[in-house]
Symmetry: C2
Subunit: 412 residues, 2 copies
């Protein structure tokens, strides 16, 4: 019943080693590492030297290897490994969200053409089994929205800044020290990492292939003491929340923006490196999944579950995609936005009468489309403005907070 | 690829009707209601009268029907319907937790013998896809514990009592009016309903078949103003939390008890009719699933997902059970317990020196095994005592609260 997996592994860091230990201690598994491809042959390894190679083709061209596990850092190398493995009729497990998000169309086609399976639970929110759940459980449910916290590193930083009075820079350095943050922190704090995850979820949940470059992402880099003041006075918090929503016209709105949320928001207490995914469907109502999004163990657990699924020839069906109903990305709907920064910088975009002077700078509330933000993104960045969506329950407390500055402001 | 389902439906209440609407509006589904068995032929129906029958054998003996959906109230009738359908080689979807929990062994054997599938996501925590996740995602993970809030009705009552100062009786009546509570409220507030769910989860998560009668369940019926005082003074809350834990000896501890939890406990903010499941594994760490546990829509959503799975001939594999490692129920481990009630009643069990006099009654803290509670359960009930487990973080605040009564008490 269960298939013998002969595995070629790429990458033998924390996750790879953890995986090895679990697999070799498992009695149930018919899985065997035939070869492990590494970058640094000089490092001392816990396994027989003969098992290792630095040449990827030793694995890719080995016909006895039927399964490739790709756990390396570099998305370019990962792309070659994953596509060449699929072309050679090997099933693949990957944890590389950028690779998957950037090449969805090609990866689907390779799977179809070569009758192979590419699965990637570990690429999205580590140990939260969200892709499998979307594929298997919500496959016939008309979902209305997916949001959450998909990046542990920026959530860790936001928690430290708001709840423990740390500086943004200090919190970022600590996240890097703890191994949560990517080597290039822009991927995390700039909202690129959660955007890749959002693109992957959009396919499994809504059947739409989005191009990462078409999806707006603004990050938390320009957060300042203004937001800390908002928090101290009104308890409103900033979370970096990717969002996919089905619009009344049936099309999809998708973006990554920081969000001002109030104490009653389900993400309000998701702190530190925790991730969360909120799935809403017409029938199923709101479901919340919470867990650690990153780290060797949760990632290893997701990879393990994928390997186990391959023993039973598991494939994603992409039912919603193949039953595609001609939906597309729609950036035209207006959302409520909060901007902050130097008052004179805000005035350059919004004019003098819109910017409200607050302690340490200025604030503008606006209602604009995502497309408007995309069109102004370069200018927003150049002026070091911070931009966030205002969630419903945050609007009244925010307006109340602005009244402190004796400038009653009604959102148009 | 996908199989044509000819469905015989039992029960046409809220969930049944909702299901019908969704199925008949779905373009993707090859599912068709051939016959609907109802109890009350006199009720006006939205469908052609010819579709309905009051005779279960019209469905069970119809060879063209290959799928039975059982959504009735009565567990005895449900037992006959489900077992007879399986014996006639029909796949079955059921939402009846009592039926499933009471007959696990027989239901597994019938599935094996007749090569059919019985699936029952809707029986446990409505819209939270926990069984599928345990079967598919955690199938190779060594889980260490499962706990949560599995009963929306008692959680609703506890929320109203603690957070909205309602009386227990008033809150119970309101829950019944809103349709959360079973006709016999003892099933909910006495912890029977969550016990059936616990028994089902124990099979999927740990591969053990527990008999409901062997599993301790104490309810929230004897909650009193003492617990409200504890909450008002120390913020400790009571939640009704079923718990399955793997003991260091490899065996399983399982019981349903109210639990005193502190503000940092992940279930602290799960209120009203919400359900939650916390899954802990060695590798995957802690995962939290939150959603509405009951009601027509979440239940309908779970049934829909099960029907969809049957289109692809889905079966539970029960891998952990069939790879059974000789584990059994072990009630011997000691846990920290809180008892409250009339002081003289507490003294009848614990002696005069153990009962601490507090406002409106007495409290005893004790460390006893589950078996001890089972042995004393009749006495505890006869004396109208309230019993709860004390979660780690609640112990210090509880002891501090007791100091108010100038009786310093150190838990032995």
């Amino acid at each position: 019943m269960s298939k013998q997996l002969n595995i070629g592994l790429f990458g033998f860091g924390c996750v790879g080693q953890g995986l090895y230990e679990v697999l070799s201690n498992s009695v149930k598994f018919k899985a065997d590492f035939q070869k492990i491809c590494i970058k640094h042959p000089e490092k001392k390894r816990i396994l027989d030297q003969q098992l290792f190679t630095t040449n990827k083709w030793d694995i890719l061209n080995d016909p006895t290897i039927n399964t490739v596990i790709e756990l390396i850092d570099d998305p370019q190398d990962a792309y070659i490994i994953v596509t060449e493995a699929l072309k050679r009729n090997k099933n693949v497990v990957t944890a590389n969200k950028k690779l998957v998000a950037e090449h969805l169309e090609e990866l689907l086609e390779l799977q179809r053409k070569h009758h192979v399976s590419l699965i990637h639970e570990a690429a999205v929110c580590g140990g939260i089994p969200i892709i499998r759940t979307l594929e298997e459980y919500y496959d016939n449910e008309r979902l209305t929205s997916i949001t959450g916290i998909f990046n542990g590193s920026s959530n860790y930083i936001l928690t430290k800044v708001f709840k423990e009075n740390q500086s943004y820079q200090g919190a970022l350095e600590q996240a890097q020290k703890l191994g949560f943050a990517e080597t290039d922190p822009t991927l995390d704090v700039g909202g690129f990492d959660p955007k890749y995850k959002l693109v992957i979820l959009a396919l499994h949940a809504f059947g739409i292939i989005l191009k990462p470059k078409d999806v707006l992402n603004c990050g938390i880099q320009n957060i300042s003491s203004i937001e800390k003041n908002v928090y101290d006075d009104s308890s409103l918090q900033i979370k970096l929340t990717p969002s996919i929503q089905r619009l009344p016209n049936g099309h999809i709105q998708a973006f990554v923006l920081p969000q001002l949320i109030g104490t009653t928001h389900p993400l309000y207490n998701i702190n530190n490196e925790y991730n969360a995914v909120i799935v809403e469907g017409i029938f199923s109502n709101e479901q919340l999944f919470i867990g650690k999004g990153a780290g060797a163990h949760p990632t290893g657990s997701a990879v393990l579950s994928d390997i186990s699924a391959l023993c039973y020839d598991y494939k994603y069906e992409y039912k919603k995609y193949y039953h595609h109903q001609n939906i597309s990305l729609d950036n035209s709907a207006k959302i409520k936005l909060y901007f902050s920064g130097e008052k004179q910088n805000l005035e350059k975009i919004f004019g003098e009468d819109r910017a409200i002077e607050v302690e340490n700078g200025g604030v503008v509330l606006a209602e604009e489309s995502i497309q408007w933000v995309i069109d102004h993104q370069k200018q927003i960045e150049a002026l070091s403005l911070f931009v966030a969506q205002i969630h419903n329950e945050a609007l009244v407390p925010l307006q109340k907070w602005l009244k402190k500055y004796e400038l009653v402001y009604a959102l148009t």
